[in-house]
Symmetry: C2
Subunit: 386 residues, 2 copies
């Protein structure tokens, strides 16, 4: 452990003192360092020489005890300088704030075997809690494809898109019969020892056993709006790219998208029917050019992969009868009418070919089922016109 105990304990205390993503706190830690800030706050006195509220609260924190109790719950506190500290979080230092949340977290509480430095090429998949079946299906597919590629799927364990993405990762990462699941990371707004929403206890426990449950909020904390806002910036910052699957115009998923944009992560969106309110927020950002349209896991891997590393499979259409024609036969085909049948000489004129060539071509096209004889003339079959 290369981080001095004093540093870690100061960070535990500051983490307990402040709210996740409090911009004043994260800015002061960046400026003064955790140990110095902790010291200054602990000895802060008001004009009458009395301990300030902050100093009193800080004095009441027992960071050693917190670490011990948390360890018994299976939690560790990861701070900058630790081997597993995810370096990309450093980008938060210069990314400003949204609704007073921002900055590099003082530390992260983590539960689970996955080391956070494995997140370097992770993909976040987020979206509406009020997802449609369509949205949930697509989130699950993306989660599965990303996990199968060996990348970690990051999300927030919420209802709807989030949990579908986690579930996709869990099922997709497991080749049939394999003992290990696709690792996935749930970043929570409550303490990493708790579960929110309660209905997802089973899947969150599973993630804690196979991947990691992460929170900036101290153990025991309940999920509050400010903590959701702070949490969203971590989902974006921990991932190389963020995919928004469904988001209505005011969805919290757009807060995450906003962070991904500020952090210059790749920002992707899945379109849906224009008649679906749940896709309106995504469409708006794609239209504005802030987000790249993706249609599934293949597109996502292409966007976040190193150049050429994960090329989308070429969309190979099944070769059609038309593809197997010679250039000459195709010229004949292009001159055959759709509706009222035409005589070979008129087809020859349109095609700019000789009558013999046209007759030979028509015979071949007849074999292929592309043209048919009707009323003594030739016309395209329904298949050829399809």
């Amino acid at each position: 452990m290369s981080v001095p105990d004093r540093e870690r304990l100061a960070r535990v205390a500051l983490n307990r003192l402040g709210e996740p993503g409090d911009v004043k706190m994260t800015a002061l830690v960046a400026e003064l360092g955790a140990v110095r800030l902790h010291d200054l706050l602990l000895h802060e006195r008001d004009p009458h020489g009395l301990r300030t509220d902050v100093a009193a609260r800080l004095a009441s924190v027992d960071p050693c005890g917190e670490l011990d109790r948390s360890a018994r719950l299976g939690l560790r506190f990861v701070v900058p300088g630790d081997d597993e500290w995810p370096e990309p979080l450093g980008d938060l230092a210069a990314a400003g704030s949204i609704q007073d949340r921002g900055g590099v977290p003082v530390g992260l509480w983590v539960k689970g075997p996955l080391r956070l430095d494995r997140l370097v090429d992770a993909v976040a998949v987020v979206g509406s809690r009020a997802a449609t079946q369509y949205g949930a299906d697509v989130a699950r597919e993306i989660g599965a494809v990303v996990a199968r590629s060996g990348r970690v799927v990051v999300s927030g364990a919420a209802f709807g898109i989030d949990v579908a993405a986690h579930r996709g990762a869990i099922s997709g990462g497991a080749p049939s019969g394999a003992a290990t699941d696709g690792p996935t990371v749930a970043v929570l707004a409550c303490g990493a020892d708790r579960v929110y929403p309660q209905a997802h206890r089973e899947v969150v426990d599973h993630i804690a056993a196979t991947g990691a449950v992460v929170s900036e909020a101290a153990p025991g904390c309940s999920p509050q709006r400010v903590r959701f806002l702070a949490r969203n910036r971590l989902i974006a910052a921990l991932s190389r790219g963020t995919v928004v699957v469904e988001a209505a115009r005011r969805s919290g998923a757009l807060n995450t998208a906003n962070w991904a944009g500020r952090l210059q992560r790749s920002l992707m969106g899945v379109p849906g029917p224009v008649t679906s309110a749940g896709s309106a927020g995504v469409h708006e950002l794609i239209r504005a050019g802030a987000m790249t349209l993706v249609t599934g896991g293949g597109d996502v891997l292409e966007m976040v992969g190193a150049a050429g590393e994960h090329l989308v499979e070429e969309h190979r259409e099944p070769s059609t009868a038309r593809d197997r024609l010679t250039v000459r036969q195709r010229q004949v085909l292009d001159a055959v009418p759709v509706g009222r049948p035409a005589h070979p000489d008129s087809i020859a004129r349109v095609a700019g070919l000789g009558l013999l060539e046209v007759r030979a071509g028509l015979a071949r096209l007849l074999d292929s089922g592309l043209v048919e004889l009707a009323d003594g003339g030739w016309r395209l079959t329904a298949e050829a016109h399809g």
Copy 2:
């Protein structure tokens, strides 16, 4: 009529001689002029001093008779220099060719009261013949909104998206009880005196009576593949922007889109479910940045309108209870937990506010239905968390 008879008659003859969009023909007319080209071809002789096939065919054309017969069918032949000639077609001169089709048409056969120079701010709406109900609904809505704005809707009268767009324009342009329909223009691959597909006779006749049916193919011509390809370039060139509503990966609608791109017209696409093959071609082009995503007629008008002329209506969300809070009340709300209820002093600490302010705020939030009392503490209601 400022176009000399000789010029018009030469163009009628050349139009009958060549296929729509034949690049050699359109290039020669551009280089030599129609009268001179007609003259040269008419007197062309082979090495033995005999009339060539082309000369023989040209000699057999009776352009005066063609114009008379066409006029009796209600058709006129519009050529460059005519008052109603749509100048934007000139852009085709420099737009190259696709599959040997391209160039400015020698002339256009037109049936209907609408003058082609009204197309200057027209919008093309095209897409799959095998449209889904979703696609047809969206095409109809776009057709209606565009027509209601006073712009002309251009399409190809085909099954699926095309006819839905025409129908939308026809119904949308008519304020309840008004006698006039929204004008729409059908550009056909067959002669403007014919109808393809036959099933659309009624709607095409209606368009001919209220808007215009246009074709580059001479009267009597049947719809052939080359004529569809030539027709697609006209749909794009006659419009300020082209909207593709649904298009599978190899759809002919993408040929029209390709032309719109070459002609630097605005190119728009309507997204759909990523699970729908009919939207795959559109998604591909949006993803590649070749096409702008639009979600309906409002977006389309914004794209093709002069700056500020047709701004999309701001998406005004209904104002929520949250919107009506003061900044202070909102700070309190943001500190109230989602799940397990919290006491006012813990809420005050999270919010960084005094206890009195928090109690006052909670009372107001309780009135608004945003928070609730439970187990002696406070938490968000389902509505506030929505």
